[in-house]
Subunit: 388 residues, 2 copies
């Protein structure tokens, strides 16, 4: 097990009917900005319920944060924060709204050009960079990204997606009521399962470092997602399945399974380029890239692939290579069983566009990905070809 | 899955050579009290290393916090905090030192009779009760109680052990360096494994509520402790085994496996009386009580016992009752394999002393224990007789 640091101060209120915790958690006299996305939270009446729970506090709304939230949109919100003297933000939405809100919190009072904040990558943005940060809480409506309990965000600017990490951007609290996700379109639920699944394997399927608790916890999240995946997609009002989906997605990226282990975020990095170039949903890009990445990197990941085959998929017969083949095929089949296609060609991308993706990886400096840095641009190309 | 709240702001620094984080984490001009136990941390040179990492800060020492830390001892430390104007405490030790330090932090500036703080049981002591609380960090030397990453303590006063819970008492940080535990006596290591194991089952082996991630995480901790138990006891300098022991023990009681599930702390409650009356080590009391409790409560816990048998012990053959029998026997054998005897009679207690234990449970109001409240005094007596 490697040395590690762990810190996660986000307070979670999980379950049915938890909106009363807003009044108890938001400072009494705060002027509050509610951020949200395309309007479904408004149409469903959730925003009204949130406002009712803010009592007499003054509330300003900022809607229209898009999937893969864009820098320009967020800077408009930051302007509202400044002009309206906002003290606290309530993000009502999924990962994009929460990610976007983290950036608004960091950027609103940043003294330089806020595009600076896109340049830190996975390095922490500290209080020496951003002196004053707005606090926020979240009401989650989409189980997928884990943003409700971590300090990371991904912000889109021009043709890139930029990670932004800051302990200053942990939600003060997040309300996770599975019933608020009942009205999601099936495809978003399926994307959410894939996102949580791939987050988990990206912190697990690397090489062994004898981190037994972490491995077993990751395997437990994967097994849970496999067990409830089809149900949570096909029976949107099945509370138990959805509750396990929600909590699994949160646990997949709150840092707890990441401690002391190597990580491989190549699938997300390559996937981000597919979203930026072709507008493919984030979850879909992961379902495209991941099985292909496992195929191409099967030697690099051999020991952990065998563990994954045995413990997650209960594959105990056959040669090692046969076990790995079946584990990869099961992974692909699982994504497909949720209604997510796993081949790039099925999304209208043509083979001659693959070099364009590789160019973007190069332009963003993503030339040595994975737990070992062995996914060079050539390997990324091979992964994309395998995924085609 | 039940509704739940989760919050845990303790920062963890895990691994080799992490003492440099003290200087980065303790306020720059703080006057620091170092609390410790019987002197082994002093003899080993750890206290000196800790002091070296405090640089020019003024340091006061308070040693002699005993196992099952006593109210009177802790109040002497509280007097030091007040008379020396201590700003920050560094606890260097195991669960007793850290538990004791939490109480010192809460009691030092409490305005009433500090024995009031023993009356809250599992209810939170809030800032409306204790206005000013001293902050503290910990350097862990014994993997067992999980106190290094939770907000609970158990304090001994007269013939009772009293739980004390307060979010105000979370360690600001804890340094978990497995090498600091290499010099522990074998029995303390074994007790630590049992303590972590029983913490885990107390949050797991109740009745099913379809909390899949939590169940699998608990099972993962149990499997880890089973895998590394004998090694961490018999090969004290086996870093990997000890690292898994340390992290397993922390994860077993930092709240993460407790969320949304029923809990059964009967074994700890009955065990506390055995420690208070007969001076039996805490870990040993758990190894005595738990297998007997499973036997007596096998109907109440039937569904989860079968899950435990299958997933933790890979018992798949035989009738349900045979599976449960084997799971209970395996649990007992596991404790014995660590060198911990599991029968009350092996600790010099006689059968006619059992009513005395039951009387103490009654005196402390522990008359309806377990996840259902079904462990009445009669059932506790039966457990103790079965454990004899």
């Amino acid at each position: 097990m490697y040395n590690f640091d762990f810190y996660n101060p986000t307070r979670i209120f999980f379950g049915k009917d938890r909106l009363d915790m807003i009044d108890k958690s938001v400072p009494a006299n705060a002027k509050v900005l509610i951020t949200f996305g395309g309007g479904s939270a408004k149409k469903s009446g959730l925003i009204d319920k949130v406002k009712a729970n803010l009592g007499t506090r003054t509330v300003v709304e900022f809607g229209g944060i898009e999937p893969n939230p864009r820098y320009e949109t967020l800077m408009k919100a930051a302007e509202v924060v400044r002009s309206e003297n906002i003290d606290f933000i309530l993000a009502v939405g999924g990962g994009s709204v929460i990610d976007g809100t983290k950036f608004i919190c960091l950027a609103s009072h940043y003294k330089g050009d806020a595009r600076d904040l896109l340049k830190f990558g996975f390095a922490q943005i500290t209080s020496s960079v951003v002196e004053k940060v707005v606090s926020f809480g979240a009401v989650l409506t989409l189980p997928a990204t884990g943003s409700e309990m971590n300090c990371g965000a991904v912000i889109s600017y021009e043709h890139g997606k930029f990670p932004v990490m800051s302990e200053l951007a942990y939600p003060k609290f997040s309300i996770l009521d599975p019933t608020y996700t009942f009205t999601l379109p099936k495809i978003q639920v399926a994307n959410g399962v894939v996102d949580a699944f791939v987050h988990t394997v990206e912190q697990y399927l690397t090489y062994p470092v004898d981190a037994r608790v972490q491995d077993r916890m990751a395997e437990g999240i994967l097994q849970t997602l496999i067990e409830i995946g089809k149900t949570t997609v096909n029976e949107p009002e099945n509370y138990d399945a959805r509750a396990n989906h929600v909590w699994g997605a949160t646990m997949a990226l709150n840092g707890i399974i990441a401690v002391g282990v190597p990580q491989d975020w190549a699938t997300h990095m390559i996937g981000h380029e597919l979203t930026a170039l072709f507008g493919i949903d984030h979850g879909q890009t992961l379902a495209i890239v991941y099985p292909a990445l496992l195929e191409v990197c099967r030697d690099q990941k051999r020991a952990k692939l065998l563990q994954y085959a045995e413990r997650v998929w209960t594959i105990t017969n056959g040669s090692d290579d046969e076990k790995i083949d079946r584990a990869i095929q099961n992974t692909r089949d699982f994504f497909e069983s949720l209604g997510i296609k796993t081949h790039l060609s099925e999304y209208g991308v043509t083979a001659d566009q693959i070099p364009e993706v590789v160019e973007q990886l190069k332009a963003h400096g993503l030339t040595a990905l994975s737990e070992t840095g062995a996914i060079t641009l050539d390997v990324s190309r091979k992964i994309l070809e395998t995924a085609f």
